[in-house]
Amino acid sequence: MEEIKKTCLYEEHVKLNAKIEEFAGFLMPILYTSIKDEHIAVREKVGMFDVSHMGEFVIKGKEATAFVDNIFTNSILDKENGTVTYGMMLYPNGTIVDDLLVYKVNNEEYFFVVNASNITKDYAWVVDQTENFDVTVKNLSEEYSEIAIQGPEAEAKVKELLGLDLSDLPFFNFKNAEYDKYQLLISRTGYTGEDGFEIYACAEAITELWQIFIKGGVVPCGLGSRDTLRFEAALPLYGHEISDEITPLEAGLKFFTKIDSESDFIGKTALLNQQAQGLTRRVVGIELSKLGIPRAGYPIVKDGEEVGFVTTGYLSITLDKPIAMAMIDQRFTKKDTEIEVKIRNKTIPGFVRDKKFLKKNYKTKGA
């Protein structure tokens, strides 16, 4: 076993009396006061997450664009410098190595942000693909710390507390900024379904920013509410909606692949084949008609036969209804199909619905 790591904000979490647990090899705050209160703070005002456990790689070289185009499902050829693109890296069989954000600095430099649980695996995978390309890959995960400021008041709080005006930073764009003596990389991105920012910098800078935001009334939020928030926004989580046994088509993420374009990428052939043959299963939304909480792993049943499993489910805090995302047999994916979820020794009736659990509040245009 590798040693359990701490982020630079560990002492801050202890000071705030957080409930701390191991996640992806890091001691992380699960909650400070309550998942519900932290969740509501992000939906209605502004909250802050320590996401320093996330992994960061820098890809540099003359052929960086061709290289990223080859290993990333989404298109970056047509993207401007300063943009952020969501997508995945796939194995040749079309299943998912990881999902990630790709920051385009310029045609010869990209910044990858990957899941904490996959840093080692992803780095090895990316390096392995460099053989025929003039690029270098550096794992800078230890150098970068990160906080996410999320919620409708995020822009105003950053302006008030740091004096940085981000009103002209469009959704899924980033810029470099200075604060005091520190260099910050700030993107208008997040994992909550709300407007907000992710800020990357050295440990010292992130610790100082954290303290400023806490003093300024931004609510500290743990991984518990991070999960309930991303779930309501139907954003996938590696190990749940996506994994090395699931393809983007099965996960309902075709939109984030360029399979209909000329661009080739690792896994594309497998996806085209899967599309031609037709899917056998897919991630859908589920709503229960009776109270019960559909948790990850619970079986989905149709006419007594097991036809799938819950990938993530909660008693939704925003909607106050039991909802889930579930991977189910393609035959039953049609909206309003009646199914049941097996919860312990009971079966609770429900139906297939869209995954638009929540109206997302992204700021899609700058200013």
């Binding site: 309550s34 998942i35 518990g224 109270l291 019960g292 008693l315 312990r344 020794n345």
Partner: protein
């Protein structure tokens, strides 16, 4: 510190049992269990008429994040459930010793001798 009431019996899985008379008991979860779970958002209970068996699961208390199985300390028939908890599961957090979950008619009242006294229960916390 968790509260332990002196006049109740306890199980190792943190349920409490209150004797109402020779054959009827109330069952709930201890203050320690409620604190461990955090804010309870749903209590999944059996129905009146169902049977419960000692050391077997009979339902769950659920926080936002996780479901925690309820393990019955006794064997018998469920004669009533605490309907108040359906709409207000947070009552379990507010006072876990008033917020009983189920009332059970015991098959074998001698079973209660197997349970922990308040003093013994405090020892394992």
């Amino acid at each position: 510190m968790s509260k332990v009431l002196k006049d109740l019996l306890y199980s190792k899985s943190h349920e409490w049992v209150k004797k109402l008379n020779e054959e009827e008991v109330l069952i709930g979860i201890s203050d320690y269990a409620a604190k461990q779970l955090g804010s309870i958002v749903f209590v999944d209970l059996p129905e009146a008429g169902d049977t419960v068996e000692a050391e077997s699961e009979f339902g769950a208390v659920e926080s936002v994040k996780a479901a925690s199985d309820l393990i019955s300390p006794v064997t018998g028939e469920v004669i009533e459930i605490n309907e108040e908890l359906v709409g207000e599961p947070e009552l379990v957090n507010e006072d876990p010793y008033s917020a009983w979950l189920i009332k059970v008619k015991l098959d074998n009242p001698e079973e209660l001798e197997e349970l922990l006294s308040a003093d013994d229960y405090e020892e394992i916390l």
